[in-house]
């Protein structure tokens, strides 16, 4: 069968199983008594094997099979779940992930012999089975003395005695079970007196394709044949009456000929497409709702058409209200299709924390909550790396060694909490640890060393310390190891968060805990913006970046080294003309000037604008590729009046 169209479904589902293997392995490691974890793992490996086999992905199937064997031994208790065993399994999952990706993308399969051997070693270790090499029994249907007697009596009581010779199809899988079905079917109408090979050998599959039974029955020869023929995977059946002077027929002579004539079908290699995760999973409920709304929209359209035609009966307000309601709902329904649970990102952390903690020789418990919180797909795709960064920091620098924790009277096992929750139109992601907290003095020393603070600076506040951490000049890669505080590229984390229109904040109690909070908008497609006017054009500033709006007199603009500045509550802020920044005419400075205070790369900056228009939700449209990336412009939006407004990218607006 051609399965190429199922590749994507296969890939998506296979990834789910790998994820579940990872998760269950973690929970199994924590609690080896947990039978459900091992059962779930076994089931996942098992399903994966079946799927891979069906797709003809032999490497995957083969590898999963080996993994399943190990899991089975764990399940039956024949194998002890030592750390070594668990590690082999974790590596096996990694190998599977790699194999899956390479298989799906039609890439070269990298060697996995080592992992395979590791699994095999586990399978072989607990019970070094000596494979029995019993010589193949010759097929013979000679009745023994006891059975002869039984048959004799049977015949005397009006039964027929038949020798039933059966040949299975080539490539019959689970031959013994097939034999069992034959037994089962015959036993409904007959008594099986003898079998050749013996029942035991049949059960152990110590036969090729042919076996014979002697049965006592009241059914006719033909009925018996039909019963056996009605069973799957039977190539031929021969039923002959047994005369006690005779040996039963040893099966059809031409069995091998039949086998040779059997067409060995070679399955065609499926046509392969290589695309990466083009599938999106959406709850059917959400799709149904969308379809419903579109249905309502169609009705509403009719009403509006009526209204425009000016029919007397047309209910104008009603029709427009209806349209308004439907489009709003439609907007939310469509948006909800983009929403995915943050679980997708969180799921990788238990494993990461486990591996890293093990490598660092620390005991760390990761507690995750709120993983069902949903946010925009595009944000989910980008937030992973910053979170990895922060969690790594917690493991590397936050959580102390076991000895240090005991010495400080803390619980031996450190805890990292990762949580997500909604707050208004935002999602809050918190990463906290009960480690040593931020060492303000160290941060100060390092900042002085880096020239970020004047030498001899004594006290700095926690807030200042945090700001320094996010400063691009604060940390560089080569200092990661010799600094036992935080600061591993936190500026990169901040940049990513800000590019997602989010904010990041760190709080800490030295010696006790550290908590990083990331606040992100639920979606990037629709944002709240402050609309302002410059040079007769409307410009949208994402509200996220706006700190405040003030009004100044032209005289308040001061100049330092030919640059405009203003004083705001004893702070000197650089002042720019938004019109000029965007290449429009500068704002006329004859009257009072509205100034928007915007945060640009962590610094407050003032922008003079012509006029304030107000706050509004806008839909972000990216600029056409013909225009390309324009410095300072994040995109454009269509306003209610049909005009287009540019959306400011505050991070690149000024150089």
């Amino acid at each position: 069968m051609d399965l190429s169209s199922f590749r994507e479904v296969f890939a998506a589902e296979a990834r789910d199983y790998l994820q579940s293997l990872n998760e269950e392995l973690l929970s199994f490691e924590r609690n080896p008594e947990d039978e459900s974890a091992i059962d779930n793992m076994f089931r996942a490996a098992h399903s994966l094997k079946g799927m891979a086999g069906t797709m003809g992905f032999s490497e995957l199937a083969e590898f999963t099979h080996e993994m399943e064997s190990v899991l089975d031994l764990l399940r039956t208790g024949e194998l002890e779940p030592t750390t070594d065993v668990i590690n082999v399994l974790f590596r096996a999952v990694d190998t599977l992930e790699l194999l899956l990706d390479q298989t799906i993308n039609d890439e070269m399969i990298s060697p996995y012999g080592e992992q395979m051997a590791a699994l095999k070693a586990l399978v072989d270790s607990p019970r070094s089975v000596v494979t029995q090499t019993k010589d193949e029994r010759m097929f013979s249907a000679e009745l023994n003395e006891f059975n002869r007697e039984t048959i004799k009596q049977g015949i005397a009581q009006g039964y027929y005695a038949f020798a039933v010779s059966v040949v299975l199809k080539p490539n019959t899988i689970l031959k013994s079970v097939r034999v069992f079905t034959v037994f089962q079917a015959l036993e409904e109408v007959a008594t099986i007196v003898q079998s050749n090979p013996s029942a035991e050998d049949l059960d152990d599959e110590k036969f090729d394709r042919q076996f014979a039974l002697v049965v006592l029955t009241k059914e006719s020869e033909q009925n018996i044949r039909q019963i056996v023929e009605g069973i799957s995977e039977i190539e031929s059946v021969l039923v002959e009456e047994v005369s006690l002077d005779d040996r039963p027929e040893a099966g059809p002579q031409n069995a091998s000929e039949i086998a040779a004539a059997m067409d060995v079908s070679v399955s065609a290699t499926p046509v392969r497409t290589s695309r990466h995760d083009p599938l999106v999973r959406v709850e059917t409920e959400r799709l149904d709702k969308l379809i419903n709304l579109v249905g309502e929209l169609v009705i509403s359209r009719t009403q509006v058409i009526e209204m425009v035609k000016g029919g007397e009966s047309a209910d104008r307000t009603g029709a427009l209200d209806q349209l308004d309601r439907i489009t709003t709902e439609l907007q939310y329904a469509a948006m909800s299709l983009r929403m995915v649970p943050i679980k997708q990102v969180f799921d990788r952390f238990p494993r990461m924390v486990r591996d890293l903690a093990q490598a660092r020789g620390k005991d760390i418990n990761l507690k995750i909550s709120g993983e069902t919180t949903e946010l925009d797909r595009s944000i989910v795709n980008q937030i992973g790396d910053p979170l990895v960064h922060l969690i790594r920091n917690s493991i590397d620098h936050g959580i102390e060694s076991r000895d240090e924790r005991i010495a400080n009277g803390k619980p031996e096992v450190g805890t990292i909490r990762l949580s997500a929750r909604h707050e208004g139109s935002h999602i809050l992601i918190e990463i906290s640890d009960d480690g040593r907290g931020l060492d303000v003095d160290r941060i100060r020393d390092k900042a002085i060393e880096r020239g970020l603070l004047p030498g001899g600076t004594k006290e700095i506040s926690m807030t200042e310390a945090v700001n320094l951490l996010f400063h691009p000049g604060f940390s560089t890669a080569e200092t990661v190891t010799d600094l036992s505080g935080r600061g591993v590229g936190l500026d990169a984390v901040k940049a990513t968060v800000e590019s997602l229109s989010g904010t990041i904040d760190v709080e800490s109690e030295p010696g006790e805990w550290t908590r990083t909070t990331i606040k992100l908008p639920l979606t990037l497609a629709i944002i709240k913006a402050l609309l302002v006017e410059v040079d007769g054009e409307t410009v949208a500033i994402p509200i996220q970046a706006v700190r405040e709006n003030i009004q100044i007199e032209p005289g308040q603009v001061k100049s330092i080294q030919q640059n405009d500045v203003i004083m705001l509550r004893n702070e000197v802020l650089p002042l720019y003309d938004l019109g000029e920044c965007l290449g429009f005419e500068p704002v006329d400075r004859s009257g009072p000037l509205p100034v928007i205070i915007v945060e640009v790369r962590g610094e407050k900056v003032g922008f003079i604008v012509e006029d304030l228009i107000g706050q509004q939700e806008i839909v972000i449209k990216s600029l056409s590729s013909i225009v390309g990336d324009v410095k300072g412009v994040a995109g454009a939006t269509v306003l209610g009046n049909g005009r287009i407004a540019l959306i400011i990218d505050n991070s690149t607006l000024i150089g």
């Binding site: 399903s47 094997k49 899988i173 089962q184 009605g230």
Partner: protein, 120 residues
């Protein structure tokens, strides 16, 4: 009229491949169950001519489901689906009343043979 089939498997992928084979061969797939529990419910609802039943499934496994369905309808025609190495369970399923068994990976011809033989 085409014989009706209820597919039971916990993986959507397996259900799809089975459906593909089954429908191509003139049977009508009237339902898909993702576990034994669903299979029992759907069996009563849909009264299919044939049922394919995976063994290892969450919630209610295939063997339990076979037993339950056989209680509801002793005439039920259930084909148990297993992977290699599940012999004891296949035997158990057959003893519980399954009429035939299929081994994954499925061979289309085998699937059809089984449906034909068990369905007749």
């Amino acid at each position: 009229m085409a014989k009706t089939v209820l597919i039971t498997d916990d993986t959507a992928f397996m259900r799809m491949t089975l459906r593909n084979v089954i429908e191509k061969n003139g049977y009508e797939v009237v339902g898909e169950a993702a576990n034994g529990e669903e299979a029992i419910t759907l069996y009563q609802e849909l009264k299919p001519d044939l049922v394919t039943m995976d063994i290892t499934m969450p919630k209610v496994d295939g063997i339990t489901a076979i037993k339950e369905i056989m209680k509801i309808d002793p005439q039920a025609k259930i084909i148990v689906c297993s992977a290699m190495g599940q012999k004891p369970m296949v035997i158990e399923a057959l003893s519980a009343g399954a009429k035939d068994f299929l081994v994954k990976p499925f061979d289309a011809e085998r699937v059809v043979e089984s449906l034909r033989k068990i369905g007749s």
